[in-house]
Amino acid sequence: MKVAFWPGCVSKGACPELYVSTHKVADALGLELVELEEAPCTGAGVLSEQNPALADSLNGLTLAMAERQGADLMTICSTCQGVLSGTQFHLANDPARLARVNETLASSGYEYRGTTKVKHLLWILVEDIGLDRLASLVKHKLTGLNVAPFYGCYILRPEEYLGLKERPERSTYLEQIIALIGATPVEYLGKSKCCGFPMLTMNREVSLKMGGKHILEAKSKGADVLVTPCPLCHLNLDGQQPDAAGVMKQPLGVPILHLPQLLGLAFGFAPEDLRLNHHVINTKAALEKVELKV
């Protein structure tokens, strides 16, 4: 299977471990990644709130690039997914808005016809590759590891942009994958809530409390690690976790794994090859629980 691959800025910036582990897992799955190297940042919702026409055009360009590849557009970031799904939804349902975008793109060499499907890696794993195929590739079951899913807002809400009305089961894919690789999904309220990252520069204390609260709840339910399909959640939950512990006045110390890192471990890749030794919160103790060393 071939996909047009939009890695997002963060997987090529502060979360290189996501980019590396995505490629490892894609190789194992025979998923051909055609990276859209000329596609722009989605604007992460920040540009669209101040200038919807600008965000429409930038994301319309990315959708057109995928359309030319004749392949679905794959994201590895809940935020990119949400923004691109939103644009896709509006341009598919509003011909006038699509016409305005194409007017702006006129000199770019691209025209968007409105047909691109945007899919997060998480959806491709379950819907296109299938759980049976995934199960057949598991070489190292992560039995005994308690994994708390953390979806990130933009892969769940608003439902109509993200196809959750037609496929409500999309809100359970992380748990399905966790169970499939032999680990135990941890059920807790925070799994579908906000990591706080969008507010980090506006109100640092509130942002850290938001993330810290969910980590603490997962920990109280026995989580050894959290797994997320969103690198922005990762930045707040892992990168800011020591600061969040300070604000919460409680120890946290829960490693945060990217989705392809967790799957990569089950596929038998060495933790170093998935850059699990490059996290702010040390992954050593959790990995030892499943007889892996980093």
Binding site: G13, E49, Q50, L58, R157, T201, M202, V206, M210, H278
Partner: protein
Amino acid sequence: MKWTIVVGRYDKDQPAGSGYPPPFESAAAKRYQTFEVDLPEHAMVLDALIQVREYQDESLAVRCACRSAICGSCAMWINGHANLACTSKLRDFTVDGKVTVESPPSMPPIRDLVCDMTPFWQKNRQVRPWLEGKEPVPAGEEYRVPNAAMENLIQEVGCISCGACLMDCESFAVNQNFLGPAALAKAYRYTADPRDAETRDRLKTYSEPDGVWDCTHCYECVQQCPKGVAPLEQILKLRRMAVEEGFTNNAGTRHAYAFAESVKDSGRLNELTLMPKSFGLLNIRAQLQSLPAAFNMARAGKLPPLIHKKIPGLARIKSIFAKVGGKFK
């Protein structure tokens, strides 16, 4: 049909621990009680609660009136999210054989499913939810407005003040001073009304701390609103109006401009400069506060590349900015 409903019971005469954060806040006093009810397949969660109160346990406190999504009384947490009990079907909310209902942990509890709505009404009052009429009053007639101007406000006018959005607001859950989705949506309704005389003053007030920039953009309020008010969308309109009106001395505006500049100049986000620029280069306290996390990330090998690369084909991006960049040109 048999249904199982688990109800969070609370009585303030059994004092809660002062533990933070919710949802553990009242764990000491809250207990969960399971009831079985016999109701048709199409029954609502509220039908089940009334059944319990009428025939099994008359001490159950539940607030409801119209039973048709008009009065807004019966918003409560159903399986961990705010919903109107009167429009939530038991069959849609039964997970693993049960539905769990409770008072939302971010609101002060009174008894069982009844929470204290005082924070909701206080925030509402705080945004001055009334028209400040323009002077002079048109002689001998009423204020006239074009239809199109009012169409823009219709979405918010649908609000029934049930509080579901505030109950699920992630920012409010950890910061009780945040004005919150319902009040800010109401604020937009008056700010954007062409008859209002205080537009500028309102935007100034709403741009202050605990106002529009304290929304975390999580879409919970959009998801939970039973009337399609989409409070987040109204908050974003207020942000846009505030920036355009010149209230730009805040991290939110700096963040937006730094973000746009980075995409315009390189096609991608420059993570290294975004944070310091958002805080404001002279905001020494915020800059210092962010240093330990930056240091931790650098030590783990998670620092973005020091030389920020531009994407190939940047001319396309620059052309888009030139055409529709507006204030970000």
